[in-house]
């Protein structure tokens, strides 16, 4: 890993309370339940999982929109504790939403959409604001900027809308970008364009990116590392190439086997799919949460004890009992080294 982590999460847990009639406690939805990872400066990490696995809650937690119940978030070596910390942190994070049209106010022109964050953050000189807005439009290739400034969101194509959302997210010069399914609403031909834009911004500005997606096929060319999430937990973390070549966790293997590529052979064979559906996050299964669906589950182990993170290769971690014997990884050790003094 390159240098000190920009962001580190340790034992992060975000639970939602279930209440009957608004006040009687009914239980917890453990959307994010003990997640630890690190993100280096300038690194792009994909969080991959099915719907309901907690990946959007993780995004919201990383954006400071939901406060975690337990665990720590460290950013630039500072622990985010009180409201002041989170306010300081939020100015350094940009958010790219899933549905660009829903994320843009329909009655505001491109100029106002981009000026608003500058006004809120105290850039009072109109000429300075205009220069920043033009610069942001150029950075996302909405050129010539004069042509786009007076337009309204509905006058832009889906790809252009998403680029505007990216421009707004990067306007204040954040260090970290959280992109929650940024291309799932876009057409196949536009997807590559938006992903390449995010990638080039990440590389030119040394931005770190957390890219939330359900679609593993989009991660290959746009990320360094992948975190696989299942039922509120990270089950595997690895470099993209390692994960695609040698997935270790049975869930990751199942996920990869289920993804089709354009291939005429596909129509002649069935794909292996694990039985059942993801578990309830209110009462998750004991032990490994994937064990009821796992083809390699070890009776008496996987259904009793929760697997720790095993180091199965360089920078490759899998939370699975199959790799018992490998060194376990203690939660985010680099925080002590790279954290606050």
């Amino acid at each position: 890993m390159r240098g000190d982590p920009l962001l580190a999460a340790r034992g992060l847990a975000t639970w939602y309370e279930l209440r009957r009639w608004g006040f009687l406690h009914q239980g917890w939805v453990r959307a994010v339940d003990g997640v630890s990872f690190q993100l280096a400066e300038g690194e792009a990490v994909a969080v991959v999982g099915e719907s309901g696995c907690g990946k959007s809650t993780l995004a919201k937690t990383l954006l400071g929109l939901v406060r975690p119940l337990r665990g720590e978030v460290w950013f630039e070596g500072r622990r985010l504790g009180g409201a002041d910390d989170w306010r300081w942190y939020r100015r350094r994070v940009g958010y790219v939403q899933q549905d660009p049209y829903g994320a843009l106010p329909p009655f505001m022109s491109v100029r106002r959409i981009l000026e608003e964050p500058l006004v809120v953050n105290g850039v009072s000189s109109p000429s300075k604001r205009r220069a920043r807005v033009v610069e942001a439009l150029e950075a996302v290739q909405l050129v010539p900027p004069e042509e786009f400034l007076p337009r309204f969101p509905h006058m832009l194509s889906g790809g252009q809308q998403q680029r505007l959302v990216v421009a707004r997210a990067t306007l204040l010069g954040p260090r970290l970008l959280v992109a929650d399914e940024p291309v799932s609403m876009l057409d196949a031909s536009v997807r590559a364009e938006v992903l390449q834009l995010l990638r080039s911004l990440q590389q030119s500005h040394r931005l770190s990116v957390v890219y939330i997606t359900h679609d593993l096929s989009t991660v290959r060319h746009f990320c360094e590392r992948v975190l696989v999430m299942y039922a509120g937990k990270l089950v595997e973390q690895a470099q993209v190439t390692d994960l695609l070549r040698e997935p270790k966790h049975p869930y990751t293997q199942a996920l990869l086997a289920a993804i089709p590529d354009p291939d005429p052979e596909n129509a002649r064979r069935l794909r292996p799919v694990p039985p059942g559906e993801p578990p309830s996050l209110v009462r998750p299964p004991e032990g490994c949460r994937f064990h009821p669906r796992c083809p390699a589950a070890i009776p008496g182990v996987c259904d009793r004890r929760e697997p720790p993170d095993f180091e199965v290769g360089a920078g490759h971690v899998a939370a699975c009992w199959l790799y018992e014997g490998a060194r376990t990884v203690t939660a985010a050790p680099a925080v002590e080294g790279g954290g606050s003094p």
Partner: protein, 327 residues
């Protein structure tokens, strides 16, 4: 082709009336679906692929400005059938639809089993509830839904299960052709793979033909024998899927193929610049010309549909020239 195809669509047009003028959603479509074969209609959003499905099924909204052409199912022209006869003899019985976001198309206040039985009652295939029940259990079993789910309401089922119920409903009268409109696009990866496995098995077991509407080339390759590539209301390339994947002919097909983000392919995807033309006022010549890297003089005129070897057709001047030169 010597044997008549199951479905043949000729010069189909469907235009919608809007405040800004007629929208030419389907504008001169030619298409064939062979017996027991599956054809994928592939295209970006807004290219008119769902309108094409609706035009074939005669499920039209109120604002139709123009609707013409021929839709031949087993040689019988569906367009000239009176509505009443179409409803009684064709829809559900010979030709059915699994609509887009089918899992939300179920009636929330009817039990799943009763909904699946509805086509049976409407077409007079059953006389007694017990008879209907047997059919429903069989239909649900075929799509992998446990029979006891027949007594549940749609909201008690997961998205994948509801999608299966919609498929069971479309198949309950054993139609020859089923139109699947984006059957997997709203589902998770594993659920998607499961459902595609189911559709494949149904194809193999029942021999049903499918017309698959999709925007995703990988999904198309899971199920289809043939591909019909749609662009701005027209089918610009038609032919066997394996040939399409290895050697797309139309410049749009080539660009689309290169833009696909794929898991296992080494090469980086190439974005396709520009956007499709408005269907309000499509350009007079080739509709892809403005974005086409191979554009040349004739492209200002509407290109012909050129037959190419191997049962392929392509709507492009590049191949028209070659065809005439070869002759």
């Amino acid at each position: 082709m010597t044997v008549a195809p199951l479905l043949r669509v000729e010069d189909l047009h469907l235009h919608f009336r809007t405040a800004a003028g007629p929208v030419r959603a389907v504008d001169g479509v030619y298409l064939e679906v062979g017996r027991g074969r599956t054809v994928a209609v592939l295209g970006e959003s807004g290219c008119g692929k769902t309108s094409l499905a609706r035009a074939i099924l005669r499920l039209l909204p109120r604002n139709v400005a123009h609707y013409s052409g021929r839709v031949l199912l087993d040689g019988e022209d569906l367009m000239v059938l009176p509505e009443e006869r179409f409803r009684q003899e064709v829809r559900w019985a010979r030709l059915s639809l699994v609509p887009q976001a089918a899992m939300n198309s179920l009636n929330p206040v009817l039990r799943v089993g009763d909904q699946v039985a509805e086509p049976l009652w409407l077409h007079g295939r059953v006389r007694r509830p017990e008879e209907a029940r047997d059919h429903v259990v069989e239909a649900l079993r075929r799509v992998g839904v446990p029979p006891e789910f027949a007594d549940r309401y749609p909201f008690e089922l997961s998205g994948g299960m509801r999608q299966r119920v919609a498929i069971a409903m479309a198949l309950v009268l054993r139609p020859q052709l089923v139109v699947l409109d984006e059957p997997t696009s709203a589902l998770d990866v594993l659920t998607q793979a499961n459902l595609l496995n189911l559709l494949k098995t149904l194809r193999w077991e029942l021999g049903t033909s499918f017309l698959l509407i999709t925007h995703d080339l990988a999904t198309a390759s899971e199920l289809a024998d043939d591909v019909a590539l749609m662009y701005a209301g027209q089918i610009v390339e038609f032919g066997p899927l394996d040939r399409f994947l290895t050697g797309p002919m139309h410049p749009y097909a080539q660009a689309l193929r290169a833009s696909v983000v794929s898991l296992r392919e080494e090469r980086a995807p190439q974005p396709l610049p520009g956007r499709p033309p408005s269907l309000l006022n499509p350009p007079a010549g080739c509709r892809f010309a403005a974005r086409c890297p191979a554009r040349f003089d004739p492209c200002g005129q509407a290109p012909p549909l050129v037959p190419v070897e191997g049962g392929r057709r392509v709507m492009c001047w590049l191949y028209a020239q070659e065809a005439t030169r070869a002759r």
